[in-house]
């Protein structure tokens, strides 16, 4: 899939979205940490970031570098747009699809070029960031920054961990993890189509 198509698909998902209803986990440590916790405790956000990190790591250092910053910046931009124009809303199905896509690419060990990986990171960041911005209440700037920074740290650590893996078995384990992520994403999509209990 070309970079333009990925971005177009993400934008289309934003435009076609229906209203949302979510709330923020209160950690008691302040708005910034509430944002961090939100990303870690939201399965779709966490799995997409981990999937992207695994993929970037499998594709090598250059691709990993091309993924980290676009993801975090797009996440923050998406958060700000979502917080300012939260009319979008129920993005669970597109977010689940992004989890499937990231997991599938890891399982297939898709050899993404730097540009394609960067475009994928942009699309994932915009989509999930928008969903966070539109649903986190109150949309405090520190909370949104916390979520974006958490995405950056997670994708960086995951990619760095995978880049360092040399053993074939360890890299195969990464692909298996990708298939688990894709599987959970598919089931998340099923729950959305059915109506999550």
């Amino acid at each position: 899939m070309s970079a333009r198509r990925l971005v177009a698909a993400a934008l289309a998902a934003l435009l076609l979205a229906a209203p949302a209803s979510a709330h923020l986990v209160q950690t008691g440590f302040g708005a910034f940490y509430d944002g961090l916790a939100h990303l870690v405790l939201t399965p779709a956000d966490l799995l997409s970031v981990l999937g992207l990190g695994l993929l970037a790591g499998l594709c090598g250092k250059e691709t990993a570098r091309a993924t980290m910053f676009p993801l975090a910046l797009a996440w923050l931009a998406g958060c700000l747009v979502g917080a300012s124009f939260p009319a979008g809303g129920e993005l669970a199905a597109p977010c689940a699809l992004s989890v499937v896509l990231c997991g599938l690419l890891v399982a297939l060990r898709a050899p993404l070029a730097r540009r394609a990986a960067g475009a994928l990171a942009l699309a994932v960041g915009l989509l999930h960031g928008y969903a966070d911005g539109a649903t986190i209440r109150p949309p405090d700037a520190l909370t949104l920054a916390g979520a974006s920074l958490c995405a950056f740290v997670l994708v960086t650590l995951t990619a760095a961990f995978v880049v360092e893996l040399r053993e074939g078995a360890a890299r195969l384990a990464v692909r298996v993890a990708g298939s688990w992520i894709a599987a959970v994403g598919l089931l998340m999509l099923g729950w959305e189509l059915r109506g999550t209990p």
Binding site: V176, V184, L187, M188
Partner: protein, 182 residues
């Protein structure tokens, strides 16, 4: 005599969903035997089977789960699950080595039935997403256990043990098939 009253409660919501998901694949011997057999068969055959089968299984299983969730009926789910243990056990006994895509297709076909069963059996009042995470992790762990058992294949006697284990799985599958048909 001096103990205070116990105040305990059942898990609900997210915790119950995750626990139910983790528990579901290990709650039935039919699931457990088939999952272990997938791992053992992959380990017997080595690369690329050892990773292709555990990668194919969860994804197709999730597809089956999704079909179950959205209400698409799949005929003969219990038969399919029983057959999976019978066929996979027989493949382990025979150390059959079909082309990778055929092996992945066989495993994928059976994964559809297992996933459909998981997808339609969510306990009421639990988190569906975390239930899904739980049963994917549990299934994958059973595969990993099967692969670990399959490491015995390096040894002469280990191969015999694995074939014997395959025969046990196949016998279990025959029993479940009998039960499903009865």
């Amino acid at each position: 005599m001096s103990a205070l009253a116990l105040l305990a409660h059942d898990e609900t919501g997210a915790a119950a969903g995750l626990l139910a998901g983790l528990r579901h694949p290990i709650s039935g011997a039919d699931h457990v035997l088939a999952m272990l057999a997938v791992g053992v068969w992959g380990a017997q055959l080595g690369a690329p089977y050892v990773w292709a089968l555990p990668v194919a299984f969860p994804m197709v299983m999730a597809l089956g789960g999704m079909l179950g969730l959205v209400g698409v009926a799949l005929p003969g789910v219990e038969l399919g699950i029983a057959l999976s243990a019978l066929v996979l056990g027989a493949l382990v006994v025979a150390e059959a080595r079909p082309p990778v895509w055929v092996a992945a297709g066989i495993v994928g076909l059976f994964a559809l039935f297992h996933g459909h069963a998981h997808g339609t059996e969510l306990p009421a009042g639990t988190s569906g997403v975390l239930y899904s995470v739980g049963f994917v992790v549990s299934t994958g762990t059973l595969h990993a256990l099967g692969i670990a058992l399959g490491l015995l294949h390096r040894f002469e006697r280990g191969r015999l043990v694995l074939r014997g284990a395959g025969a046990v799985v196949a016998a279990g599958g025959a029993y479940f098939l009998w039960e499903a048909l009865a």
